[in-house]
């Protein structure tokens, strides 16, 4: 039998738990292809979900990691467009068939392997997600909600206690629920991922504790951070209010309830739906909400659901949103009699159904959490473990484990009150300020779990034993031991499985803590999926208070040091915390006590006051009177009246300073107002735009012929190597690294300096792009015994951080001249044209998302189109931090900037022998001063030699083509249609060898002209006019509240370096180089694959760190 199928089917753990790497180690290319064929056949025929999924992950990994390395280096292939379209439409099966047929016809290639890897990977996750969803729907107690299709069928009724308004003059009783958040001691290496619990229930164990929080220095005492409220109102609407996000809405129709991204109330909507108040089966039912409410609550009546999170920021790793969802669901279920008690705590059965509904809510809202996340609904410290699926369970026969885990709450016999206190006396809980998306990490964990690679599988075993150690330490009451165990967990298994669980910020904090407190620092405790946000530091109780103050200060300082390199969403905070031993708790308030929290009134009262008193409902009038009483009461602390005044009376508008400083920045960075106005006017008039970026449809675009490129994937001939070595020795070459961009994709628009991002550990330490590039240049220089100067080109956002960083790190000891070439141009972002948004979202092929996420996305896009119309299409984008309103104007400008700002002149002065430049992107980590390539460039005597690589699926954005018969690079934006790009074998890596004198000549300059700035400026302007201008849409983050972020698409323009190849008077050559040399790291999610496929090791081999 096929060994891989044997691994999947075997009941013997020794065979089943073998790693894919071990099985594939000795296989030849033909063996692998044969195994893949059989495995594909097997997964098509298998009825067993988990056999199918494991086979899919095996196939994905073989095509991603094992097959490419066995292909001849000079293989070239195309990505079939039809298959790509299937992928975008999520027709994975069809895509796989298309790619396999292509492979049969044209033989294996890196291109087709990348397509198959992606298709299998996506199909595997889709299969898993579908199964979790099916399980969520089939949990008993959830099924009925999917059958209700009409408001008249609604089977829930509000409890009578909530309708009791006493004498009629007072408001409805108010139900209030307070819920804590959860903090996990250990999650046994992310074993709370649903799939893991369902496939490996015995390995899925989490120990978590419910905690109340307070921000140190702000709150008097820790409180349950989540409060939710529900009451009957005298208007037939479903009112949702989020006091922390400052949003409220009156929902009057059922379809509005399913429009998640229309406002900030998506989570509340998901909760109301998951609680069955508006059952998910009603989606698509076009009835007024009053029909449903009159049946559920009574004619003319409505419901109000309010959430309040006590300023706990996003990314706290304490599962705030899942527990908020749980709290909201619980209160809604109490109100409709779906859980037994209206007030007080919840029974175990109730908590289980609330947890099941919270999972449903996460799915409905398009978010995702693990099965331990609703832990705050439970009291105290509890062990949560996967449970085997037994007869009668909906999962029986499908998966080994159940969707929902079992909770065992530890009583005081197991973990004494003394231990709980000691824990509180030692642990310092903080939010470091980073709020990163943990989703990619969870995907990596799932994949690695299924592939069973040796070190990671061993680490999983260790993580499981660590949980036992924590339990033991808790029983013994030994907090110091807990610290040592959680530290071991963090540095050991967690980072073995996911190296990205930590980052430079966290490592520095641990280092500083150890240095400052020595033996009295007992350990580090990673919370949730990754470090950087919510984290725990355990100290000797004697120094806890000191450590709290110290940590607050140290975190702020470290953040300041790293904030240009890492995406921080907020200022770090230190929490006070207490273990919550009663779980989610509800109270019913009636009469005068039935008042909402202050912030609710702060949000709604201004709106009430704008209306005529007679238009307000009696209940609202009563509340206004009560508020009036409170404000007039001289005995009260007046916080309510102050808050109301703040909301209603205007304050000095801080935005003025924002506009002013934006103005200053534009001045400073060389903003060309005239050019900007011209572009805006062209944009509004439709003369430029996304569709106008494209070359005319009559343009003939074909793939290049073999004579158009020089294939150096098998290495350059020795004579070229010698020529290159001699040039290096003679000091003829320098390296230019483009570092002006803000890495929009790298941090999803967070606006940090990508060059400084410490993205990966090399030789035991996180190192950033800048350091890696310098280390490569250092090594080339040493190997070939010649001085190689290095230049980093910068922009408005990256210039100061890069300069400061280089100075702060003593230029990393770089021995040769090191230059920073500042940008001389900046653009101002504009509100996009609806036409362009529609073009990007409706006319360009788009990756369709999973069904529910797609709904959320469509709703969000409708909202963003509304935003663009409201903000003014083509108007200046100024509603953000000034730096976020600016944009770099494309990497083309970075080369002329070298001429304009005098950097090139200085370089030539210091090293007059210099003749050539190696230009590359900040994220092209494999680019180095390769003597063979340099020799080839010199020998060809062309001005520019562009390096291209054979195309893979992920290499999108243009390529090398014959345009009307002439070879040149074509940007993705300029492709006359989507399909054209897929006809091209080579992708532009952007790495370019430049002959300095040739380049100057192309600009109409000579070396001596560099001394005359006005001549240079004129030359650059002349050349700029010959370069096409592209309009692009970029995502920009706007941060607000406590770590909240909105992402807006904004329009900007750019000119791109590849278009130099279109100039008839610039001679160009094209070198086909190996993939590892030309591949780019555009997104952080690529990092894991990059580390695993040997690329990181290849980069490391090019570097000399000191």
């Amino acid at each position: 039998m096929n060994r891989l199928i044997d691994v999947i089917l075997s009941s013997d753990a020794a065979i089943r738990d073998q790693s894919l790497d071990a099985v594939c180690a000795d296989a030849s290319l033909d063996d692998l292809l044969a195994q893949c064929r059989e495995l594909d056949e097997f997964r098509r025929q298998s009825d067993n979900l988990y056999h199918r999924v494991r086979a899919l992950f095996f196939l994905a990994a073989i095509y991603r990691y094992h097959l490419p390395s066995r292909l001849p280096v000079s293989n070239t292939g195309l990505v079939p467009f039809a298959g790509h379209e299937h992928l975008l439409e999520r027709r994975f099966q069809e895509a796989i068939d298309c790619f396999l047929t292509d492979q049969e016809q044209h033989g294996p290639s890196a291109a087709i392997a990348s397509c198959l890897a992606e298709a299998y990977h996506q199909l595997a996750f889709q299969t898993l997600a579908d199964q979790v969803r099916r399980s969520v729907r089939t949990v008993r107690g959830n099924q009925w909600m999917f059958r209700i299709g009409h408001p008249d069928d609604h089977p829930l009724r509000i409890r009578r206690e909530l309708l009791n308004r006493g004498d009629g003059s007072s408001p409805s009783p108010l139900l209030c629920e307070r819920t804590s958040v959860r903090m996990d001691f250990s999650h046994s290496a992310w074993s709370d991922i649903f799939f893991l619990g369902m496939d490996f229930p015995e390995g899925a164990r989490v120990l978590n504790v419910s905690v109340d929080l307070g921000v140190r220095g702000r709150d008097d005492a820790p409180q349950p951070p989540i409060e939710t409220y529900l009451r009957v109102i005298d208007q037939p609407v479903l009112r949702l209010v989020s006091t922390d996000l400052g949003a409220s809405t009156d929902i009057t129709s059922i379809p509005e309830m399913f429009d998640f991204a229309r406002d900030y109330l998506g989570l509340l909507k998901a909760a109301v739906i998951a609680a069955g108040l508006v059952p998910p089966g009603l989606e698509g039912c076009d009835h007024p909400m009053s029909d449903l409410l009159s049946r559920m609550v009574g004619p003319g009546l409505g419901l109000e659901v309010v959430s309040k999170v006590n300023d706990i920021p996003k990314g706290s790793r304490l599962a705030v949103s899942t527990n908020l969802l749980g709290s909201l669901i619980s209160i809604c279920m109490r109100a409709t009699g779906q859980v037994s008690s209206l007030t007080g705590g919840l029974e175990e059965a109730d908590r289980r159904i609330v947890a099941a509904r919270a999972i449903l809510g996460e799915w409905i809202g398009g978010s995702g959490g693990g099965w331990q996340d609703s832990g705050g609904v439970w009291p105290g410290i509890k062990l949560i473990q996967g449970a085997a699926a037994e007869e009668g369970d909906p999962e029986h026969g499908i998966s080994r484990g159940r969707l929902l885990p079992e909770h065992t709450v530890f009583d005081e016999d197991e973990v004494s009150a003394e231990t709980r206190k000691r824990l509180q006396d030692s642990l310092v809980l903080v939010h470091g300020g980073m709020a990163q998306n943990v989703g990619p990490i969870l995907e990596m964990v799932t994949e690695k779990y299924l592939l069973r690679s040796e070190p990671e599988w061993t680490a999983r075993g260790e993580a499981m034993s660590i949980l036992d150690d924590v339990v033991e330490a808790l029983r013994e009451g030994d907090v110091e031991k807990i610290g040592s165990v959680t530290t071991r967990n963090f540095h050991g298994p967690l980072q073995t499985i996911i190296p990205w669980a930590t980052n430079r910020f966290t490592d520095l904090l641990i280092e500083h803590s150890r240095k400052k407190f020595g033996e009295q620092f007992w350990g580090f405790w990673m919370l949730g999926g990754m470090a950087g946000g919510g984290m725990g530091f355990i100290f000797d109780p004697d120094v806890k208070a000191e450590a709290q103050d110290w940590l607050q200060q140290t975190m702020s300082e470290t953040k300041r040091e790293l904030q240009t390199a890492l995406p921080f969403a907020m200022e770090p905070v230190v929490y006070d915390f207490a273990i919550n031993d009663r779980g989610s708790w509800a109270e019913l308030q009636a009469g005068d006590a039935a008042m909402m929290p202050d912030r609710y009134y702060g949000l709604l009262v201004p709106g009430w006051l704008k209306r005529e008193a007679r238009d307000l409902s009696p209940q609202t009038r009563w509340e206004l009177e009560q508020l009036g009483e409170t404000c007039r009461d001289s005995n009260s602390d007046n916080s309510t009246s102050r808050m109301l005044l703040d909301r209603m009376l205007p304050r000095a508008d801080k935005d003025e300073s924002r506009v002013e400083s934006l103005h200053d920045l534009l001045e400073t960075f060389g903003f060309d107002r005239e050019q900007h106005e011209q572009i805006c006017s062209d944009l509004r008039a439709g003369r430029v735009g996304l569709s106008q970026n494209r070359l005319p449809s009559t343009t003939e675009i074909t793939d290049v012929k073999s004579e158009d490129v020089i294939d150096v994937r098998n290495g350059a001939e020795a004579r070229y190597v010698d020529l290159g070595k001699a040039a290096i020795r003679g000091g003829e070459v320098a390296v230019v690294t483009l570092a002006a961009g803000v890495g929009s994709r790298w941090t999803e628009g967070a606006g940090v300096c990508k060059a400084l991002h410490p993205f990966c550990k090399f030789d035991g330490r996180h190192r950033n792009f800048l350091e890696v590039h310098l280390a490569k240049t250092r090594k080339s220089s040493r190997e070939h015994d010649g001085p190689i100067p290095h230049v980093f080109t910068t922009g408005y956002l990256t210039d100061a951080p890069i300069r400061e960083h280089l100075e702060g790190h003593q230029r990393y000891g770089f021995e040769h001249p090191l230059f920073v070439s500042p940008g001389r141009a900046v653009g101002l972002r504009t509100v996009p044209m609806v036409r362009d948004l529609r073009f990007a979202w409706e006319e360009m092929p788009q990756q369709v998302l999973d069904a529910q996420q797609q709904k959320v996305r469509e709703s969000l896009r409708a909202a963003l189109i509304g935003w663009a119309q409201q903000a003014g299409e083509g108007e200046d984008y100024t509603d953000n931090l000034p730096m976020q309103c600016l944009h770099p104007v494309g990497h083309w400008y970075e080369i002329p900037n070298l001429l304009r700002n005098g950097t090139l002149r200085e370089m030539l002065e210091r090293q007059p022998s210099m003749k050539y430049l190696l230009l590359h992107n900040i994220d092209t980590l494999g680019a180095s001063v390769d003597p063979g390539l340099l020799g080839l460039h010199i020998d060809g005597d062309q001005t520019l030699s562009y390096e291209v690589i054979s195309r893979r699926l992920e290499d999108r954005g243009g390529g090398l083509a014959r345009v009307n018969g002439r070879p040149r690079l074509v940007e993705g934006l300029a492709m006359p249609n989507e399909e054209a790009e897929f006809e091209l074998s080579y992708y532009n890596s952007m790495t370019t060898w430049i002959t300095i004198d040739g380049l100057l000549a192309a600009f109409g300059l000579s070396r001596s002209d560099l001394d005359h700035p006005s001549t240079v400026d004129r030359a650059v302007r002349r050349m700029a006019k010959r370069m096409p201008t592209y309009i692009t849409l970029k995502d920009v983050k706007k941060r607000w509240g406590h770590g909240q972020e909105d992402i807006f698409p904004v329009a900007q323009f750019e000119k791109l370096w590849g278009d130099m190849s279109a100039l008839p008077d610039v001679s160009c050559a094209y070198f086909v180089t190996p993939l590892q040399r030309g591949q780019q790291l555009k997104q952080q999610s690529q990092l894991d694959g990059w580390l695993r496929d040997g690329s990181a090791a290849a980069v490391k081999a090019l570097c000399a760190w000191s």
């Binding site: 107690g141 009925w144 609604h154 089977p155 009578r160 409709t336 009699g337 209206l342 007030t343």
Partner: protein, 296 residues
């Protein structure tokens, strides 16, 4: 098990006049709802009947009872303390005998020659235990009924051993606790308004009521069962299911709740469409529909 007594409750504040409503029976005879109910029980061999009513209603009930007045004992429910309490008023009447119980706002139409009450009593006699008539009911009607969970009795179709009884369950509870194998998804066995009960039920009701009176004011009692919630028959049947053999059966017939909106009209239509005047009523209905459509 010999069943010769019946108890009908008709004391609910909003329902007490329902048995006095007039309808035309299958034979075209003008009768009160009470007469129809009484005929249902006499057809099942019941000899004595206890009617639990509101104080002051007896005279009108006597007039509505027709020829069967002689077999009826009237008992007043002096305070409106709910369904369980109403049934408990018949405690002395029942004594130590098993009895048939019907609610006063339901009419029953059998699909066979045997009336519904007779079908139920036959089963109770055969199995010598309490039996409730039930009907598969869609989940959107759950807020109106008590419902049972249990399993099929071997070799009997439509007969169930009851393990769980919940009054007006939410669909969440129903799905977790009341699923019956063989029923369509979203359907549950809800009470038909007709039971054969044993004296144990009366004892249990009495016990539950004394407990409630004792704890009425404590918050725990209020929150666990809801404030002001009175004892229902379902509470007692829930205890019965745990202590004694207790069956539920689906009868060949249909119940009509004349207390619901248009309930009386629908019951009348059902009677007429299965009786002597079927063609006449159908003709009238078609004419009505045609007129309606023309206007539309």
């Amino acid at each position: 098990m010999d069943i010769r007594k019946a108890v009908i409750t008709a004391a609910a504040p909003d329902q007490h006049t329902l048995p006095l409503q007039r309808l035309v029976d299958r034979q075209g005879q003008d009768k009160t709802a009470l007469q129809l109910i009484v005929e249902e029980v006499t057809g099942a061999g019941i000899e004595e009947l206890c009617l639990v009513i509101r104080p002051g209603d007896q005279v009108s009930y006597e007039q509505a009872a027709g020829e069967h007045l002689g077999m009826i004992h009237f008992v007043d429910q002096t305070e409106p303390r709910g369904y369980g309490d109403a049934l408990l008023r018949a405690r002395d009447f029942v004594g130590d005998d098993p009895f048939l119980h019907l609610v006063g706002d339901h009419l029953y139409l059998s699909d066979s020659d045997t009336c519904c009450a007779k079908q139920l009593i036959d089963i109770a006699r055969e199995h010598a235990c309490a039996v409730s008539a039930v009907q598969a009911t869609r989940e959107n009607k759950l807020p109106d009924f008590g419902a049972v969970g249990g399993s099929h009795v071997a070799r009997h179709t439509d007969l169930y051993e009851v393990t769980r009884v919940i009054e007006k369950p939410t669909p969440t509870q129903a799905e977790q606790e009341l699923i019956i194998a063989g029923l369509r998804a979203g359907y549950y066995l809800c009470f038909f308004g007709m039971h054969v009960l044993t004296p144990f039920v009366m004892e249990t009701l009495e016990h539950l009521q004394s407990e409630t009176v004792g704890h009425e004011s404590t918050p725990a009692a209020l929150s666990s069962r809801g404030a002001n919630r009175s004892i229902t028959l379902s509470d007692a049947l829930s205890v019965l299911a745990q202590r004694q053999k207790y069956l539920a059966t689906e009868l060949k017939g249909t119940r009509y709740n004349i207390g619901a909106q248009y309930g009386l009209l629908i019951a009348q239509l059902a009677l007429s469409l299965t009786g002597r005047d079927r063609d006449h009523i159908l003709t009238e209905l078609v004419e009505l529909l045609a007129m309606r459509n023309n206007r539309a």
